[in-house]
């Protein structure tokens, strides 16, 4: 009998559990925690895609997600809030939000495409803080208080009354994104991207346009993050600059690192961990409002002890249980020594 791949077993069980979730957990879990887990996972997956296949750890994913969210908010609200109040059909809002986010992502990516490693991290962090400050200051599109009353499309919402609908929409989106990212990583484009990650100089001398591949990957990841942003504003009905501040940027980084920076599955594992800790730590008396101290400490421990995150721990357990040695140890971008800026 062929050995069963434990990853696949866990994947199928997780999928069944997710689909059946409304049957066995409370509406609060489905409507608040699990939905939030799924769209945060989508944003984190865009970060993990860039880091795992492109070698680019980006802190701009939350900025992109916020740009998509703000465009949807401006396009689809109709009076009674800040912003442009264009009053479009929510689906046109989705199209506009994703299109603008991808265009901005293309620009961001093009400017950062000649940098790698910590340079890339610093440049994308700059984007993130500037996006946050821009939405805080430019009162035409948002201002400090943000945009309220953002509607979901009629077939999905109203969200408060039909929490399960949005949950299944988000679950479907997360699955589609997962499959799409897996697929893209195996296309010629994805393979070239991995070549660029491992040895940009060699890829350049083979005739590949390294900067263009990085830019395209960044724009594609922006699409993924934008989907997360659209789902976020449908779920929350409101977006303000604090939704994309430095704290939010770091939260998504924490999710990706705690899950595991080198496997897409890590995005949702980390997101589940994050929303549960976020939700329940408030009730522990000595933590209370100090949630971020706790999450910072967990993040520190993970980075110091298990840079592969929870998925990395799982792989180690599987490897020990099946008597195999650990896989190639150099896949984790955190542990790889720096490739210096090359071209």
């Amino acid at each position: 009998m062929r050995a069963v791949n434990p990853d696949r077993v866990v994947g199928v069980i997780a999928l069944v559990l997710a689909v059946a979730a409304p049957l066995y957990v409370s509406p609060y879990w489905v409507g608040t925690l699990l939905t939030q887990m799924l769209f945060l996972g989508i944003v984190a997956a865009s970060l993990i895609f860039l880091s795992a296949y492109g070698g680019m750890v980006s802190l701009a994913q939350v900025a992109i997600y916020g740009i998509a969210g703000f465009v949807v908010g401006n396009a689809t609200t109709n009076g009674n809030t800040k912003g442009l109040n264009l009053g479009w059909n929510p689906w046109w809002g989705v199209v506009a939000g994703i299109a603008v986010a991808v265009a901005v992502g293309f620009l961001f990516g093009a400017l950062a495409s000649r940098s790698v490693g910590i340079y890339f991290l610093m440049i994308t962090l700059t984007y993130s803080v500037i996006a946050n400050l821009t939405f805080g200051q430019v009162t035409d599109v948002s201002g400090f208080g943000g945009i309220s009353g953002i509607p979901a499309p009629a077939s999905v919402g109203p969200v408060d009354a039909h929490q399960n609908r949005l949950y299944y929409v988000t679950l479907g989106a997360a699955l589609a994104i997962y499959v799409l990212l897996r697929y893209v990583s195996r296309t010629p484009f994805g393979l070239t991207l991995q070549g660029v990650r491992d040895d940009p100089v060699r890829m350049a001398s083979l005739g590949y346009n390294v900067a263009l591949h990085r830019t395209a990957a960044f724009a594609f990841a922006s699409f993924v993050a934008a989907v997360g942003g659209v789902l976020f504003v449908w779920w929350n009905g409101h977006i303000d600059p604090a939704s994309i501040d430095l704290g939010a940027t770091i939260d998504v980084l924490v999710i990706a690192v705690v899950g595991g920076l080198y496997r897409l599955e890590g995005a949702w594992v980390g997101a589940l961990f994050f929303v549960i800790v976020n939700n329940y730590s408030q009730q522990i008396s000595f933590i209370g409002a100090r949630f971020h101290t706790l999450i910072g400490a967990i993040f520190l421990v993970i980075v110091l002890v298990s840079p592969g995150g929870l998925v990395g721990l799982w792989e180690r357990v599987v490897a020990v249980a099946s008597g195999r040695r650990r896989g190639p140890p150099d896949r984790n971008p955190i542990e790889v020594g720096q490739v210096e800026p090359s071209i």
Binding site: T126, L246, T293, G296, V303, L304, E340, P341
Partner: protein
């Protein structure tokens, strides 16, 4: 070509074109029309750059030598400010509960807190480096993530201990007055000139330290080739610790000055991390001269865009910070004075 337009067009606008009436009315009009406010904006830009330089020079010193991106630099800034704030209120004593005015504060009430805050933050920086970063040398991303984790914890603890209300450190009464510049009859804020003097002093000391002392020589050699310096029998770890102390201390001192000049509140750490990042991205990472030029460009860009955008659009000035970064990255991905490592 496009770049030339992007640089020349704003200059023409500020010097000659900016109107005072109509749809595109600006606050002051062009430099030709109102030279006094042009000069004030120019000096404001330079003095803002002075504070950027104090903070960013510490950031670039650490990065240049150790390749550590200290993402906790903004948190160190805020911590330095808060330590000085508390110390100053304790020193002055009664009547400090609702904040101090500079009439109550003399020079020692400002200098002692500033000195203590600088030293404490320097000590915290070295501790972080020795405990968490030293054994991860060479794993740059991991070190950056470690400093991010520390910054999350520090920011949250500062929120718990110092609250969410914006507070500021009082300048000593000797500084807090207007000074006549004898040009166009400008009466200029004394404290801004003090900041400029402090920054020039720090720049000069750093330059002398790096160029004229043995430690400075080791640091410059270490920036170029750490392994070789170490192989020559020099204790590079000691040099790393010294550089980290100085770099962090500068963030703390910057926090004291920034907290006196503006205010301290949660979120201020993110702004100052941004300024440090922008300065080193445009100036070139690890270069002191680059930090000076980067600070100047950032200070002038923020001040001129805020003053010379049409009055109904001034809130777009933040975009110009991004434009500045974008222009530099498009031309020189490693910054104006950056070199490939």
């Amino acid at each position: 070509m496009l770049l030339a337009v992007l640089v020349i067009a704003p200059a023409l606008w500020v010097l000659f074109l900016a109107p005072t009436t109509g749809k595109w009315a600006t606050a002051f009009g062009s430099a030709v029309h109102d030279p006094k406010d042009f000069l004030i904006t120019l000096i404001n830009g330079v003095t803002a750059a002075a504070l950027f330089f104090v903070v960013a020079s510490g950031f670039t010193l650490i990065f240049g030598l150790m390749r550590v991106v200290n993402m906790a630099h903004g948190a160190f800034f805020l911590l330095g400010g808060y330590i000085a704030l508390r110390l100053q209120r304790n020193l002055v004593g009664e009547g400090a509960g609702f904040g101090l005015t500079s009439a109550q504060v003399n020079l020692t009430h400002w200098l002692i807190p500033a000195l203590v805050a600088t030293l404490v933050v320097a000590a915290i920086g070295v501790t972080m480096q020795q405990v968490f970063l030293r054994w991860n040398q060479g794993q740059e991303l991991r070190q950056a993530l470690i400093t991010i984790a520390i910054s999350i914890i520090l920011a949250d603890q500062m929120l718990a201990h110092f609250g969410g209300v914006a507070e500021d450190i009082a300048w000593p009464r000797n500084f807090d007055r207007f000074v006549s510049l004898h040009v166009e009859g400008i009466q200029y804020t004394g404290t801004r000139l003090v900041i400029l003097a402090i920054a020039l002093g720090i720049g000069l000391l750093l330059w002398l330290w790096l160029k004229r002392t043995r430690t400075g020589m080791v640091i410059r050699a270490g920036v170029d080739d750490r392994a070789m310096v170490s192989a020559l029998g020099i204790n590079i770890q000691l040099t790393f610790a010294i550089a980290f102390a100085v770099g962090s201390g500068l963030a703390g001192l910057g926090g004291v000055i920034g907290g006196s000049f503006a205010s301290l509140a949660p979120g201020v750490d993110a702004n100052w991390l941004l300024y440090s990042l922008v300065v080193v991205i445009i100036g070139g990472m690890g270069s002191l001269g680059g930090a000076a030029v980067g600070s100047l460009l950032l200070g002038l860009t923020t001040n001129f865009s805020a003053a010379y955008l049409p009055s109904s659009y001034t809130y777009y000035s933040i975009i110009f910070t991004f434009v500045l970064v974008a222009i530099v990255l498009a031309v020189r991905p490693l910054g104006l004075f950056g070199r490939a490592a």
